[in-house]
Structure formats: structure tokens, C-alpha cells
């Protein structure tokens, strides 16, 4: 009996010791988290973040800022609302939702990322078609109520394509490339910058929406295109490092040569620099809420 008691006693002591170690480790981890004084910037990846990728190699960036990749722009929005991120990039569709929520008043718009090409239709490798031949083909879109699809639809109908005869498939973006590869879908409608990922795999861009500037700039052959807002940089209002230091640093990175910008994007995304060389570079600029709302209302028209 004495031996059994001793064993039980030893087990209890071991359990207590393990519990103590677990608690101490958790406490050390949590206290460590609280001590971080780096300004964390959330994003969901992609080739549009060129300025941020270049900034990462800036000596002023390291130690002050840190890029943190999250699953989707919505995840960045949640982390911003909860105060876990000092700044973050979200897309205009999520911006329009998040700005209506209580708690948005703690955030402010400090920048925008623009890109010349909007909605883009990519057809699968080996499919030799023109827009008029798309009837009956399966087209992948990422959301059922999708601005990109509406843009494509409007343009295609202007060119007498009956979009009602296209077979729409709602499919997550990261599943689009395998679906194109397997020939399960014939085409996808994606954002212009993301089309580079599909082009990298050998698929072809068949249509691309350009907003043409209605000015005298440019010429009859090559009218100037208007950049479209692709990402909006939000920052915590009470964090000067995020709301003014970060936009200044990103603006400086943006002024790097096109070669540097493309090389940073290629390194961060894995898209070969040769493919990016044929495409425009995304542009980061300082912005405020009024400007963003004006630009978005223009996009909705």
C-alpha cells in the first residue's frame, strides 16, 4: 500500500510539474507577444504589393515594420478591427463592407494601390477561341455577385456576346489554376494583376478591361489608361508609425526603378520576372477616405 501511495504521489508531482511548465511557457509566450514594438502590416499576398515588397529590403523597414500574410483580405479586415494589425491592405469590395461597421472609426485610409488592368478573362492553355466563340463554355468566377464579372459582362455584351449562354462556375481563386489545367473550366475572370499567375502556367489573356482616360493625353493609337483601385491601405488612427511613417516609406519604395519593383514582386510571388516584364507595375500612392470614396463611386458608375 505504501508503494502504491508513493507512486500516486509521484504521479501527482509529475503532473503538477508538467502543468507548471506549460503555464510558465504560455505566460512567457504571451508576455513576449505583448512586448513587440514592430508595426505589423497585414496583406493577403499577390503581385499588387510591389511597393511593400521593395520596402522590405529597405534598412528603415526592418525593425520598424513587418509584413504579415493572412488568408484573405477579409482576415486582414478582422485583424484591423480587433487592433491586432497596425495597418493592412484590403480590396475595395471588403472596404465597402468594413467601413459600415462600428469600430471603423479607429481606422483611417492612408494609401491605395492601383493597377491599369481591371477585369481580365483568361482562357485555358490550348483553347483557341475569340470572345464570340465563348458561348457554352464554362467560365470560373470567385463570387456570384462579382464586380469583375459585371464589368466583363457589360464589355462582352457591347461586343454582341450573349453572356447568358456562358456556363458560370463559382470557384475559389486558388482552385482556378488547377481547374484550368485539368480542363474542368475553359476560362476564368480575375483581376488584371492576378492574371499573371495564370499566364505563368501557360494560359492566355483573351480580354482585359482598361479604363480609358477621356482626355487629350495619349494619342489615337494608345490612349492613356486610368489606374483602377485594387487595394486600400488602412491604418490604426492612433498609430503615427502606421498612419504616416508607413505611407512615406511605401511612397519612397514606389519610386524605385521598374526593374527593382518587378524583381521584388517576382521574388515575393514566385511569378517569373519575364512574365512581369510584359505587364505594368502596380502603383502605391498616399490617399485619404474622401479620395477613395470618389474613386470607388466612379468605378460603380
Amino acid at each position: 500500500m505504501k508503494r502504491v501511495h508513493l507512486l500516486v504521489h509521484e504521479h501527482s508531482r509529475a503532473s503538477l510539474l508538467i502543468l507548471l511548465v506549460v503555464l510558465l511557457t504560455a505566460a512567457a509566450f504571451l508576455s513576449g507577444c505583448g512586448e513587440r514594438d514592430v508595426t505589423v502590416i497585414g496583406h493577403s499576398g499577390g503581385p499588387l504589393l510591389t511597393a511593400a515588397y521593395v520596402a522590405e529590403s529597405d534598412p528603415e523597414f526592418g525593425g520598424r515594420f513587418e509584413l504579415s500574410r493572412l488568408g484573405t483580405p477579409a482576415d486582414v479586415g478582422y485583424a484591423l478591427l480587433s487592433g491586432d494589425l497596425a495597418a493592412g491592405f484590403i480590396d475595395p469590395a471588403r472596404y465597402e463592407e468594413i467601413e459600415r461597421l462600428p469600430g471603423f472609426e479607429k481606422l483611417e485610409v492612408v494609401g491605395k494601390v492601383t493597377y491599369p488592368f481591371g477585369a481580365t478573362l483568361v482562357v485555358r492553355n490550348g483553347l483557341e477561341v475569340r470572345l464570340g466563340d465563348l458561348e457554352g463554355k464554362k467560365v470560373g468566377i470567385s463570387q456570384p455577385e462579382c464586380v469583375l464579372w459585371d464589368t466583363f459582362k457589360a464589355d462582352a455584351e457591347r461586343l454582341n456576346v450573349d453572356t447568358e449562354k456562358l456556363e458560370l462556375q463559382v470557384i475559389a481563386f486558388d482552385a482556378m489554376i488547377p481547374a484550368l489545367e485539368a480542363g474542368i473550366i475553359d476560362a476564368v475572370v480575375v483581376r488584371g494583376a492576378l492574371a499573371a499567375v495564370a499566364v505563368k502556367e501557360g494560359h492566355t489573356v483573351l480580354y482585359q478591361n482598361w479604363e480609358i482616360e477621356e482626355t487629350d493625353a495619349g494619342d489615337g493609337c494608345c490612349p492613356l489608361t486610368e489606374d483602377q483601385v485594387e487595394l486600400i491601405l488602412l491604418a490604426q488612427r492612433n498609430d503615427p508609425e502606421a498612419s504616416s511613417g508607413l505611407p512615406a516609406l511605401l511612397t519612397r519604395s514606389q519610386s524605385s526603378s521598374l526593374e527593382v519593383l518587378r524583381s521584388a514582386a517576382a521574388q515575393a510571388t514566385g511569378i517569373p520576372v519575364e512574365i512581369l516584364a510584359d505587364l505594368p507595375v502596380s502603383r502605391f500612392e498616399v490617399a485619404d477616405r474622401a479620395l477613395i470614396e470618389e474613386l470607388l463611386s466612379h468605378d460603380d458608375e
Partner: protein, 274 residues
């Protein structure tokens, strides 16, 4: 004694009553109520007083109103029906394949040595990593979603069944062999019955993992199901809708586990009360 001679609708009625008493008994037990009611009260109060942001954690009353609106519109019920169709199909396939395979692996060392390492290599692969391959093989839609849910439920059922059959009490086997039982009889009368409690437990785990996979599967392709509604709500900051979907999945999981507990009560009487 007459109690056990009840047949037909009366038997169904009696068993349903028994099931309801057992299932809801755990919810309405004093032990659970003292935990559950304060938790619900905290859910209402904490966002209201600003301890947690109400934008991210909507109060219970807001979620209740949203739930009412969603259930009143038939659309959400159609989504639930779609999800359940996929889920039961996948679970049935998982049970029909994993249990026989697990029994074979537990019973026969030669089968185990040939098959087990294969599953041990594949099981740790996170199910979302299978998505591109499943799209290529099954396309977008029901077959792909069913396969992903199947994958979630299959491994817990397989490994627990195998382990339970392997751990069958050798005394039971020796006794059966003394009476001249064949290997087939041993499997059908000893191994499976001794492992039944663990097998039912493994199906419970399979249900939980399968529900997780249901949400992941409905993220990719298709425009129906609770997972689809949940992900859409998450992406567009409709947090009360998201919470209703989460609660719905929780209730479905709880109900299915209660059904299995009832099955265990009826089939593995000797395990009850342990």
C-alpha cells in the same frame, strides 16, 4: 416483460421518446445548465458593455434575431439540406470503407503490414492540400466536395477501428477458439463486438472532422451549403450570419453524436455507464 413486446409505431414512439430524453437530458441537466446559462449571459453582456467588440462578437440577442430571419426564409433551410446530403453521403462512404478496412488491419498482421504505412503517410496531409488534386480528378462540385468530407471522416474511423480490433482481449479470442470458432466467426462475433464502443467513438470523431471538412469543401466550388453561407458571411463581415452558421453546425454535430450515443446504448450495452 410486456414492455419488450411492443412493436411497430408504438416501439418507434417509445424509442424516440427514450432518445429525446437521453439527448436533451444532457442539455437540460442541472450540471450543464449551471455552466451553459452563465455562458449565454456572458455572451449577451460582454459585447454590450464593450468588454469585447460587438462588431466582432455580436451579442446573443442579435444572433438570435438573425437566426430567426434566416430560418424563416426557406433559403437557409435549402442550404442546410444541401450540406446534409453531401455530408451523409460522404460519411456513409467513409463508414463503409474505413470500418471493414480497419477490422482487416486489426485482425490480420499481413494486411496491416502492407496497408497501414500507406495510410500513416497519407493521414497527416492537411485536407485542404488535397483540393487541387481533387479538382483535377473529380472536377468542381458534388464529387469533389464529397471526397473532401470523406477524407476528413475516413482516417479517424480507420485508425480507431484498427486499434480497437487489434486490442481485442485475447481471453475472448482464446475462449471462442476453444469452442471451435472459425476466423470469420471470430471477426463477426468477437472482434467487431469487442471493438464496437471504440468504433462508435471513432464515428463520432469522424463526424466532427467531417463537419470541419464540409465547410472547407463548400469553400471550393458550388454555391450552396452551410459552409458556403458561412464563408460568404465571413468574407463580407456579416458576423451574425457567420455565428448562426457556426451554431447550426454545432447543433448538427451535437445531434449526430447523440444519435450515435443512442446507438451505442442499444448495441453495446456492456459499455454503457463506464
Amino acid at each position: 416483460m410486456t414492455e419488450y413486446r411492443v412493436k411497430g409505431p408504438r416501439l418507434v414512439l417509445r424509442e424516440t421518446g427514450f432518445f429525446m430524453r437521453n439527448a436533451f437530458g444532457s442539455i437540460f441537466s442541472p450540471e450543464f445548465i449551471v455552466v451553459f446559462v452563465p455562458a449565454l449571459a456572458l455572451w449577451e453582456i460582454l459585447p454590450r458593455v464593450g468588454v469585447v467588440p460587438s462588431t466582432l462578437v455580436p451579442p446573443l440577442s442579435t444572433v438570435t434575431v438573425t437566426a430567426w430571419e434566416m430560418f424563416v426564409s426557406d433559403e437557409y433551410l435549402v442550404h442546410i439540406a444541401h450540406s446534409m446530403g453531401k455530408f451523409f453521403l460522404a460519411l456513409a462512404i467513409a463508414i463503409a470503407t474505413a470500418i471493414p478496412l480497419g477490422v482487416l488491419m486489426g485482425w490480420n498482421i499481413a494486411v496491416r503490414k502492407r496497408v497501414l504505412p500507406f495510410f500513416q503517410l497519407l493521414a497527416p496531409v492537411p485536407p485542404p492540400a488535397w483540393v487541387p488534386i481533387t479538382i483535377i480528378i473529380f472536377g468542381i462540385g458534388l464529387p469533389m466536395q464529397t471526397f473532401l468530407i470523406f477524407l476528413g471522416a475516413f482516417y479517424p474511423i480507420l485508425f480507431n477501428t484498427y486499434q480497437a480490433v487489434k486490442d481485442t482481449d485475447p481471453r475472448f479470442l482464446a475462449s471462442a477458439r476453444i469452442f471451435g470458432a472459425s476466423e470469420f466467426t471470430l471477426i463477426t462475433r468477437v472482434y467487431i463486438w469487442d471493438a464496437l464502443g471504440a468504433i462508435i467513438m471513432s464515428v463520432k470523431t469522424g463526424i466532427a472532422v467531417g463537419l470541419v471538412m464540409l465547410v472547407i469543401a463548400e469553400m471550393y466550388g458550388g454555391r450552396s451549403g452551410i459552409g458556403y453561407v458561412l464563408m460568404e458571411a465571413k468574407e463580407f463581415f456579416q458576423i451574425p450570419v457567420m455565428v448562426v452558421c457556426m451554431v447550426t453546425l454545432g447543433i448538427i454535430g451535437w445531434f449526430l453524436i447523440e444519435v450515435l450515443k443512442f446507438a451505442e446504448l442499444k448495441l453495446a450495452v456492456w459499455k454503457v455507464g463506464r
